[in-house]
Symmetry: C2
Subunit: 107 residues, 2 copies
DNA sequence: TAGTAGTACCTAGCGATATAAAGTACACAA
DNA sequence: TTGTGTACTTTATATCGCTAGGTACTACTA
């Protein structure tokens, strides 16, 4: 699927946060490869790291750096209470948007 | 629904084009009020006109100015063959995105 | 006849976001 | 010591929707 980029705007934060929640704890490199595998083929590393920094700045996740034995230290992310609130709101808005879109499409 | 603005990014072009298609022929002022009525409450006139100019510049619509007897001239828009292609592609991408989002949400 | 409301369109500047492109840093094998 | 894979970060750029105006035409009203 080429050039989803505009559609991804505004969705990516919620997506990444949900992935973090699903995994319990994970880090950028894994999230990136997971999303690519999931079908978001042209997502770029830099984009995910930017999203992660944003989530952190907004206080929606907790972070912890841990050494790895096969590369540089990993920065692990987990969702917090604020993040849960954000996620619930995100899916609520998305549901609403999807229903509006369906209405318009069906005339 | 407050602050859908980020979610709307990339969606609005398709939405407006679909509305034009549904109506056969329509103009900015009507599209704006239709969308507001449809639930996109905080959509702004200026945004819609910007989208319309973009659609025109991309060659996805035909336009025609006609005088009105209760205000300034109206600029009517109708979809063309390119626009139909764009729309089909838009819905296809959106369907894909929605299914991916559903997958992620359900773990 | 001046003022106001309703209709209708357009634009400049701003902030948020995703991408492109590059760099940094570490471990290990050839 | 060079390359490969892992892992994170940053800078610059384009797009998009919003803010906040402005212009212009018609009809009604004070």
């Amino acid at each position: 699927m080429e050039k989803m980029t505009e559609l991804l705007k505004g969705v990516l934060e919620g997506v990444v946060l949900q992935v973090i929640k699903n995994k319990g704890e994970t880090y950028g490199y894994i999230i990136t490869s997971d999303l690519i595998e999931l079908g978001f083929e042209d997502i770029v590393e830099g984009t995910i790291y930017a999203v992660l920094l944003r989530l952190e700045k907004k206080g929606l996740v907790e972070t912890e750096k841990r050494k790895s034995d096969l590369g540089p230290a990993r920065k692990f992310y987990s969702i917090n209470a604020e993040g849960e609130k954000y996620l619930a709101d995100f899916w609520h808005k998305l549901n609403f948007l999807e229903s509006q879109l369906a209405k318009i499409r069906e005339n």
